[in-house]
Each structure stands twice: as structure tokens, then as C-alpha cells.
């Protein structure tokens, strides 16, 4: 199953991912991304990939 992973050092708390896919991403009290789930089904590829690409600092990566 494809997965989305986060680079915590890169995350700056812009929160675009949380707005695009709140069932996958949240922010903690310090503004760092928290992964709610990492694996996603093929049917979710478009939404999760767009959420990852909405990160202004490319902190999120989709891989197979």
C-alpha cells in the first residue's frame, strides 16, 4: 500500500496538509505535523498526494 511520510525537521506548521486531509494529518501544540495514518488505499491517492504537495516546505513525501 502507498504511504505518506513526514520530515519533522522540515515541517514549519503551515497546516495546508491538515486542511487538505484532516483524516491523515494534524498539528501538535508546537505546530509540528502529527501523522494520524501513513498508509492509504489507491482510491485516496489523489487526495493524499495533493495534500502532501500542498506543503510549502515539501515536508511530506508519498512513496510506494
Amino acid at each position: 500500500m502507498p504511504v505518506v511520510t513526514a520530515d519533522l525537521k522540515a515541517c514549519q506548521g503551515y497546516a495546508n496538509c491538515v486542511m487538505a486531509a484532516p483524516d491523515y494529518f494534524d498539528l501538535d501544540d508546537d505546530g509540528n505535523v502529527v501523522m494520524i495514518k501513513r498508509e492509504f488505499p489507491e482510491s485516496e491517492r489523489s487526495r493524499v498526494t495533493e495534500a502532501a504537495r500542498s506543503c510549502p516546505v515539501s515536508a511530506l513525501t508519498v512513496s510506494e
Partner: protein, 410 residues
């Protein structure tokens, strides 16, 4: 059936449109045209890590040649678009034969408003990678920097120049900085932020003229003062790159005029995204143009969807979002703020190291919010904009957050 989508403009809006088309299963040809010869790059770092010299080329690249090849995106870089022949579906370029399109996406962005005090070496604007490299070279030459304009670009560049150890003065004709965006109380805090970081601020005063040459400019102010500067940065806004469309027949009025699906008026096979796009925002009920990174990304997704689903297009009705990083402040703005709307401030920069300002026109509904160093509050505000939260409900939630979370002043 093979079709071709040509995207003109290789910055964030154009690149994301190309990538989103493939994600939506678009099978036709995609041609991405750019005026600059560099591979597509991201612009927010220009005033920060690129100017500071800490960015790697790879960290600002939006699309590598390998990624373009893999997604079957043909890159045509280094050619400026000069016109569109709508009837024959042709994009005309400088130094390149016309390119046929079935769908055209205009993503040519905006250009820095040029210096009205002369354009010569040492007087900079900051919009492109070349601009950033030239400005950095000037800053490394030493001497004082004068920044004209206390908006996002000017403030971010001033902060970076301070981090390089330069003496910096920021000038703005407005008495209170950022007052087009914020109410005066918060604008004053932005002025203090500059001064606390060692920047001299001159607000409420304009610039009459700039004499002299690089390394030895004299900046003449409207109040008669004269500042000496080695380098000048002019950050007075941007203008959409739409002049090349003037004889195309497209409706152009401070940007390409679009319907609520981001299709050009009277030319539904032509779309626009990003800084050059003026579309009919269904919720606001007016034509607007937004020069923000997140808008370009979200509009690109919508346009890619509408190209691949022409029978059931989606309206584009975003909640505006923009950020700016200045000194140790992370500023995040959602919706519509300022313009003398009523506002409530929660937190204080000195006491809490963070704050949120909630804006309302009617005293009940949230119309916009600005937060500093408080991403959790920003999320609550962005979500609240979508769900129709009241200002009172949001204030209660944020005041609880403010007191329950200890956060050191950064």
C-alpha cells in the same frame, strides 16, 4: 483521442497544474512553457534562505527534469509567451514556433512593480531567482541597505539582511506598517518587531528621488531628509503579467478575467491560475485576484480537475491563506482581515510570545484571522472559516488554549 494542454508559466501554479492533471488521469500531452531558462523553482524562499545563502538549488526546485519526464510533462523553458491565437489554438512564443493547444492554462504570475525612482545597478526588486542572486551580491558588498516598502517582501528581506549583519532602514509611506492588512494596534506591533531586531524604521514618509550610484546612493525623503545607502530594495507590490495578452481577444482587466470555474470569459478552453488569474469567487460574489502561494496550488488543483471533468466542473471558492516569516515571527493569515473590521485580539507578543486577531464584520461571524507563532490557533481559524464558527466560540476556544499551553517567548 489525443489532446494537448499547454501551460504557460513555470512557477508554482503552472507546475502544480501539470502535476495535478496527471494525478487526475489526464492522458493527453502536457507542455509546460516558462520564460526563465532555469528549471521551475519555488519563490517563497527567495527573500529568506536564497537571500541568506542557505538554500540549495535542490531545496527550491519545484520539478526536476526526471520528474517531468516521468510524468510526461514536456518542458519548453527560456521562451517568453508573446500572444495567443484563440481561433487556431496557438500559443505564440519568442524564439520558438507556435505551440498548438486544445486547452491553455495561463500561469504567467506577476512581476515586481518597478522602481519609480529609476532602475539601475544597486536598486533592486525581488521576485525572481536572478533578482535574489543580484540582491545577495549587493548585500555581500556591504554598506547600508534601505528597503522601500514594509510589506511582506520588504519585511522578510529586511529580516534576512539583519541576519547577515547589515545596517537596515525600512521606509513606508504609511504611518502604521501593514495597515492595509491589519488594524493599527497590530500594525504597531509589526513596527516594533523591526525595531526590536535593530532595524531603523521611517513610517509615514515617502521617497522623492534616489540619486547616486550603487554603493553610494542618496535616498531623498518627502520630509526633506536624505539617507545614504549602498543598496536599495524596492518592495512596493506586484503587477500581473498580462500585457502579452492585450491583442489576444481575452478579457484582461488587472489579470485574466475568469468565471467561477476559472475558465476565461468567452473562451472556455482557456484557464488561468495564480497571481495572473482574476476569477469570480462564488462566496464573495466578486472578481478577485490573489498573489499567494497556497491560492496558486489550490487553483491549480481545481483547474486540473475542470480540464479532466469538463462536463461537471467544480467552482473555485477557497478560504484565502497566506503566511510570512519575519525575524522570529511566523505570521499566518486566513480569510479577510483588516479594512476596519471589528476585531478581538487573544494573547500578546510580549506576554505570551504569540497572539491571534479574529476579524468580524457583523460582530458574530468570523471573516478572517491573523495569528503569530500560533499554528494551532491558525488551524482552528481555518477550520472555523469553513464550518461557520462564531467569533465568540472561537475566542473561548483560543483563550483556553492560551492558558493551558505554556509556550516560552521565542
Amino acid at each position: 483521442m489525443s489532446s494537448t494542454t499547454v501551460i504557460v508559466g513555470s512557477s508554482i501554479g503552472g507546475v502544480r497544474t501539470a502535476q495535478s492533471l496527471r494525478l487526475e488521469g489526464y492522458q493527453g500531452d502536457i507542455v509546460l512553457v516558462g520564460a526563465e531558462s532555469e528549471l521551475p523553482y519555488d519563490k517563497p524562499p527567495l527573500s529568506k534562505s536564497v537571500l541568506a545563502g542557505t538554500a540549495q538549488a535542490s531545496s527550491i526546485c519545484l520539478l526536476t527534469q526526471e520528474e517531468a519526464d516521468e510524468a510526461r510533462i514536456q518542458l519548453v523553458l527560456g521562451h517568453t509567451a508573446t500572444g495567443v491565437d484563440i481561433n487556431n489554438g496557438l500559443l505564440e512564443l519568442e524564439g520558438h514556433e507556435p505551440i498548438h493547444f486544445d486547452n491553455l492554462v495561463i500561469a504567467t504570475g506577476a512581476a515586481a512593480r518597478p522602481s519609480p525612482w529609476g532602475e539601475r545597478a544597486g536598486i533592486h526588486v525581488l521576485r525572481s531567482l536572478d533578482d535574489a542572486h543580484r540582491l545577495r551580491a549587493s548585500l555581500l558588498g556591504g554598506g547600508d541597505l534601505v528597503v522601500i516598502g514594509a510589506g511582506f517582501i520588504g519585511a522578510e528581506a529586511a529580516a534576512t539582511a539583519r541576519s547577515l549583519g547589515l545596517t537596515v532602514t525600512v521606509i513606508d509611506p504609511q504611518t502604521i506598517p501593514m495597515s492595509r492588512i491589519f488594524n493599527p494596534e497590530i500594525g504597531h506591533w509589526f513596527g516594533a518587531l523591526h525595531r526590536d531586531n535593530g532595524v531603523t524604521t521611517i513610517f509615514g514618509t515617502g521617497v522623492d528621488a534616489i540619486d547616486g550610484d550603487q554603493g553610494a546612493f542618496s535616498v531623498h525623503l518627502t520630509d526633506g531628509r536624505v539617507l545614504s545607502a549602498a543598496t536599495v530594495l524596492v518592495g512596493i507590490g506586484a503587477v500581473p503579467n498580462d500585457a502579452w495578452l492585450s491583442s489576444s481577444g481575452l478579457l484582461v482587466d488587472n489579470g485574466v478575467v475568469l468565471d467561477k470555474y476559472c475558465r476565461a470569459v468567452h473562451a472556455p478552453s482557456i484557464y488561468a491560475v495564480g497571481d495572473v488569474a482574476r476569477w469570480h469567487h462564488p462566496r464573495h460574489g466578486e472578481d478577485i485576484r490573489i498573489e499567494h502561494w497556497t491560492n496558486a496550488v489550490e487553483q491549480a488543483i481545481c483547474v486540473a480537475y475542470n480540464i479532466t471533468h469538463p462536463a461537471e466542473p467544480r467552482e473555485y471558492s477557497p478560504v484565502e491563506y497566506v503566511w510570512s516569516d519575519q525575524y522570529n515571527w511566523k505570521i499566518q493569515i486566513v480569510g479577510r482581515v483588516g479594512n476596519n473590521a471589528k476585531h478581538i485580539v487573544i494573547g500578546h507578543p510580549e506576554t505570551h510570545g504569540r497572539f491571534a486577531a479574529l476579524y468580524t464584520k457583523d460582530g458574530i461571524n468570523l471573516h478572517g484571522a491573523a495569528t503569530v507563532n500560533w499554528p494551532k490557533a491558525l488551524i482552528a481559524c481555518r477550520r472555523g472559516m469553513g464550518t461557520g464558527i462564531t467569533v465568540a466560540e472561537l475566542r473561548d476556544a483560543l483563550e483556553t488554549q492560551l492558558t493551558s499551553q505554556a509556550m516560552p517567548v521565542p
